[in-house]
Symmetry: C2
Subunit: 138 residues, 2 copies
DNA sequence: AGCTCACATGAGACTCAATATCAATAAAGA
DNA sequence: TCTTTATTGATATTGAGTCTCATGTGAGCT
C-alpha cells in the first residue's frame, strides 16, 4: 500500500477528512527527511508554489502526530520539530550536538528495557519517554 | 556554611551582586521544595507581601541555573520548572504521571553508564542529558 | 560614613511559537 | 447533485519568556 493510501486510511478511520493540504504536509515532511519544524515545512511548501496556510500546517502536524504518522521532538530551543515515521522506522532517541545542532539517532535495547523496569518498580506503566543526549565532538 | 552564605559566595565569585531579590527567590524555591515554574515562585513571593518583579524572578532563576544552584526541568507543557539543588542532592531524572501530573524522581546507575557509553561510541562527549518517563498508575 | 558607578531592579513593551476565531470552502455520504 | 459538517485561510490572540530604559542600590574605595 502506498503512503498516501495509508494516510487516507488512517485519517478516514479516525473520522478525519483526506484533504490535499494534509497530503501535501505529509508528503513534504517525508520527502524532506530528518527533523523539521512547522515553519520549515510551511516555507518549503510555499517555495514550491503550493497554497497552504501556516495555520493548516500547524493543525495538520498536530493531526499526524496524534495518529502516530509523525513524531514530535523538542530539544529545548523553543521550536517543536517533527519527523516522519516511515514504515520500517523503529523507535530511536536523539543525540544533539550542542556545537553544530546536528541530530544523531540512537537505539539501545538495554536502555529501553531498563526504563520499563524502572516504571514497573514504582508501580507505573511506561507510556512514552523522552531521552536526549546533549553532546559535543571529542 | 549556611545556604545564604553559599549563595553569596557563588554569586560574588561569578561577578554577580548579592541582592535581597536573589536571596528571596533562592530561599523561596528551597522552601517550596519540588518542581516549580517562575510564575509560581512569583505568586508565592507576592503572596507574602514581598516586593519582587516578575522580570527579576525570571532573571534570577536564569542566574541560579547558570551557576548550578538550581536545575531546569521541561516536561513539554510549555512552562519551565525548576528545583533547588540541595547540598546532598545527587543527579536524578523524572517520571511524570500523565494522569495526575505527579513528578517522581529516579536514579539508575546502569542507565547513566549506558548513556556515556553511547555518546562515546559515536565519537562524542556527553555534556548533559534529558531523560523523562511519562507513565500512568497500573 | 560618604562617594561613585557599574550592575540590578521594576514596569511595561515586545517577541515569537503556537492557538483560537470565524467566514468561506470543500470532503464525503445520501 | 445536494446537504451536512469538517477544514481551510487570514488574522487576531495567547502566553511564556525577553528586552528596554529610567531609577535604584551593592560594594569597593576613600
Ligand atoms: Mn528510547
Ligand atoms: Mn540521568
Ligand atoms: Zn529521529
Ligand atoms: Zn527533581
Amino acid at each position: 500500500m502506498d503512503t498516501n493510501t495509508k494516510l487516507k486510511q488512517i485519517l478516514r478511520n479516525e473520522g478525519f477528512r483526506y484533504t490535499p493540504q494534509r497530503q501535501m504536509v505529509w508528503n513534504e515532511l517525508r520527502n524532506m527527511g530528518g527533523h523539521h519544524d512547522c515553519e520549515e515545512i510551511y516555507d518549503e511548501l510555499k517555495g514550491k508554489g503550493t497554497r497552504v496556510s501556516r495555520a493548516t500546517v500547524y493543525r495538520t502536524i498536530e493531526v499526524l502526530a496524534r495518529n502516530g504518522l509523525i513524531r514530535k521532538l523538542e530539544v529545548g530551543d523553543g521550536v517543536a520539530r517533527y519527523e516522519a515515521k516511515e514504515d520500517g522506522n523503529h523507535h530511536h532517541d536523539h543525540m544533539i550536538c550542542i556545537e553544530t545542532g546536528d541530530i544523531i539517532e540512537f537505539y539501545n535495547e538495554e536502555l529501553e528495557r531498563l526504563q520499563e523496569e524502572i516504571a514497573e518498580k514504582h508501580g507505573y506503566e511506561l507510556v512514552r519517554h523522552v531521552h536526549q543526549l546533549f553532546v559535543k565532538k571529542k
